[in-house]
């Protein structure tokens, strides 16, 4: 099953890249994207906007559509969700549509793909002033490229470390939240393994290798991408940070399985530490038996948490070619980020971090809130952009990073693996 998904994902990326050639040619041939016009100069009855988004956005989109239609009578909003919740599939559809002149005006995109759009589709910059009351603007850094905001984070998440409190307590660790640096993490993992005789931690390299490695590097205070766009963490500190994987394997405490298998082991109560994303908390809460005593903790850093984590999830980007459509698209974004919309996009079914603080407050008013969900909902630290290398080589870079993670997970020292990875990624980027 997983193999098939991976194969599909790989194919999807290849096709997205081959499709991007078309898109690139188009934007290069003089079609420039309109910046939004002043909305009061546009006639809603003469305008229609088209959205492209994955199904997880549907409730908020439908809510915002109603609001917009009331505010701007006559405005037509074409908003049919794609079938697949996979961002590569979504990108492919948008690129294909654009190639045949059906370019949507407002798109949802996985945060990791932002550079793809800014590099070849000239999206309209976003004016933070138009965002609704309560919107957590510190998240906007996840939608910035070279200091300009192009994307409004919509359903977001961040890496977290899930811990099994019961197993840790049995190994003598009673305050998991005190595990803040890698040394403490490794020490705890060793203690648990010594007690149980089984691997105690899983950091997967299959699904999101670039995101997880970025999180480990940034939480240790290093740069994933250097100022000049090249590979950022081939430094003594960077190597030591990502070397965590290698040390865990050398200590024989690492399970080294994929994301979904690790999650299953964690939910079954077999694993003390599982690196995950906050957006999966709701699913794990559903899967795990009621008596599993677990909690998310902030991702530790090399010497304690020292930097902002990369954002995961998705956001909205305006790629309209018409200034009035761009204006209405921006207005639509605003309506999708309000308290009410945010409750729909990040509520109990999805443990995304609510992007609107008012929604968070509303959610926390409820009874019997699981502490794990509370962690996801109340996360309010700034987030950085996901990835950040130039967009054209994304698929190859992700593969290279996955190889790096896999090599480290075999116990190869970071001092060997990281320089080689830096060299090949830099050569892909022409640095």
């Amino acid at each position: 099953m997983r193999r098939k998904i991976l194969a599909t994902a790989a194919l999807a990326t290849v096709t997205a890249l081959s499709l991007s050639a078309c898109g690139g040619a188009e934007s290069g041939s003089g079609v420039s994207v309109a910046t939004a016009a002043a909305i009061d100069q546009c006639k809603p009855e003469e305008t229609s906007i088209k959205l492209a988004f994955a199904p997880q956005g549907t409730p908020a989109v439908e809510y915002a559509k109603k609001v917009m239609e009331q505010k701007f009578p006559g405005l037509k909003i074409d908003a049919v969700a794609a079938q697949s919740g996979n961002y590569s599939d979504l990108t492919k559809q948008i690129v294909a549509d654009s190639a045949v002149g059906k370019r949507p005006d407002l798109i949802m995109t996985g945060l990791g793909q932002l550079r793809f759009w800014t590099d070849s589709y000239n999206p309209a910059p976003l004016d933070p002033a138009t965002l609704p009351e309560g919107y957590q603007k510190q998240f906007l850094t996840a939608g910035e490229v070279n200091g300009t905001t192009y994307l409004a984070p919509f359903q977001i998440s961040t890496p977290t470390m899930l811990v099994n409190k019961k197993i840790l307590a049995e190994a003598g660790i009673t305050d998991p939240a005190s595990i803040k640096d890698f040394a403490a993490l490794e020490d705890a993992a060793r203690k648990v393994t010594a007690k149980t005789g089984k691997p105690s931690i899983n950091i997967s390299s299959d699904d999101l290798p670039d995101w997880f490695s970025q999180a480990l590097v940034q939480s240790s205070g290093e740069k994933y991408v250097a100022e000049d766009g090249s590979f950022g963490f081939d430094t003594p500190k960077g190597r030591e940070a990502i070397g965590l994987l290698s040390r865990l394997t050398q200590d024989k405490v690492s399970l080294n399985v994929g994301m979904n298998e690790g999650q299953a082991q964690f939910a079954a109560g077999n694993l003390a530490f599982h690196m995950a994303t906050t957006s999966r908390i709701a699913q794990i809460a559903k899967q795990a038996p009621k008596d599993l005593d677990w909690a998310p903790i902030d991702l530790p850093g090399l010497n304690g948490p020292a930097g902002d984590l990369p954002a995961g999830g998705n956001g909205w980007v305006v790629i309209s070619e018409d200034s009035c459509k761009a204006a209405f698209s921006q207005a639509m974004i605003t309506e999708m980020l309000t308290k009410e919309a945010s409750l729909l996009s990040s509520g109990k079914d999805y443990s995304y971090i609510p992007v609107n603080k008012l929604a968070t407050e509303e959610l926390l008013k409820g009874d019997n809130i699981a502490p794990q969900m509370r962690y996801a909902w109340t996360y309010d630290k700034p987030l950085t952009v996901w990835g950040g290398f130039e967009g054209a080589q994304t698929a190859q870079i992700i593969n290279t990073v996955r190889t790096m993670m896999e090599q480290l997970a075999t116990g190869k020292p970071a001092d060997d693996v990281v320089p080689a990875t830096a060299k090949s990624i830099n050569s892909m980027l022409g640095k």
């Binding site: 081959s18 997880q56 919740g85 294909a96 045949v100 082991q265 699913q283």
Partner: protein, 276 residues
């Protein structure tokens, strides 16, 4: 039977069982996951035998992914493609195997060259062209690019080549025209290959994801693989029980078809001789 023969037989049987188990395990696992309760899947989900049976996954899968509609679309598209492919591939293979005409070698070369071009390479131009014809997001658009198949022409040609010329001449002296010969003699003799190719075509297009992903946007023309994607979400995790239930529903017709046509399929793939 000597002892060493017995050992060999036992070994061969054991290997066969192992290979079958390996091949069948994913199917078993799909069914096993499909009946697991959605809540707490992973706690029981790791055991080989399911602890509880929960058939509600099938209902959820059927409703949420709109599988009924998707299956009907899948059948219409797959059979549409098959009929068109047979209508084009059979005469083409017949012409390329049993008639000598100027340019036959060149045409065969073109067909073989088509086999070398990956599907993905022609997908975008085809998609653009299809939209120019106004066929984007239509069932016809799902079918049209697959009107003919290079592999089909090639497979059937190889089988038709094996029809002895003497049989063609017998048909000629029996007063059968070229078309009548095709229908009454060549097609029945090439039937195993036609059956094998049909299976191949049905499997390919029933399972095709990429092209429907690009073309089919309206929910009412979604094909089964697209509807399965409903249960996949990169951020919040996959709904495995529903996904497995939906996958079981979607693969069932193909598996049944394969079991029914297995003998033809295997014979056709192996390429049988024509016994005079």
């Amino acid at each position: 039977m000597t002892t060493s023969n017995k050992v060999h037989t036992a070994l061969a049987t054991a290997l066969g069982i192992m290979a079958a188990a390996l091949a069948l395990f994913p199917f078993y696992w799909m069914l096993r996951t499909a009946v697991a309760p959605a809540e707490g899947l992973t706690t029981t989900g790791l055991s080989l035998i399911p602890g509880e049976f929960d058939l509600s996954n099938f209902i959820r899968a059927w409703d949420k992914a709109n599988l009924g509609q998707a299956m009907l679309n899948g059948i219409a598209v797959t059979l549409g493609i098959l009929v068109l492919q047979l209508l084009t591939c059979i005469p083409a293979a017949y012409a390329l195997s049993k008639f000598r005409f100027r340019g036959a070698g060149f045409i065969l070369g073109l067909v073989l060259a088509c086999l070398l071009i990956p599907n993905q390479a022609t997908m975008i131009p085809t998609f653009v062209g299809l939209n120019l014809l106004g066929l984007g997001d239509t069932r016809l658009g799902l079918v049209l690019p697959f009107v003919t198949s290079a592999i089909g022409i090639f497979m059937l040609r190889q089988q038709m080549m094996a029809v002895p010329d003497a049989i063609m001449e017998a048909a000629k002296t029996d007063g059968l025209g070229p078309l009548r010969t095709l229908v009454s003699v060549v097609v029945p003799i090439a039937a195993p290959s036609i059956a094998a190719f049909s299976m191949l075509s049905i499997f390919t297009h029933w399972n095709d994801y990429l092209w429907p992903l690009l073309v089919a946007r309206s929910p009412d023309i979604m094909t089964p693989p697209l509807s399965l994607a409903t249960f996949q979400n990169a951020d919040t995790g996959f709904d495995y029980p529903a996904l497995s239930a939906a996958a079981a529903i979607v693969t069932a017709p193909v598996i049944i078809l394969f079991l029914l046509a297995q003998r033809h399929f295997v014979r056709g793939m192996a390429g049988t001789e024509v016994a005079g």
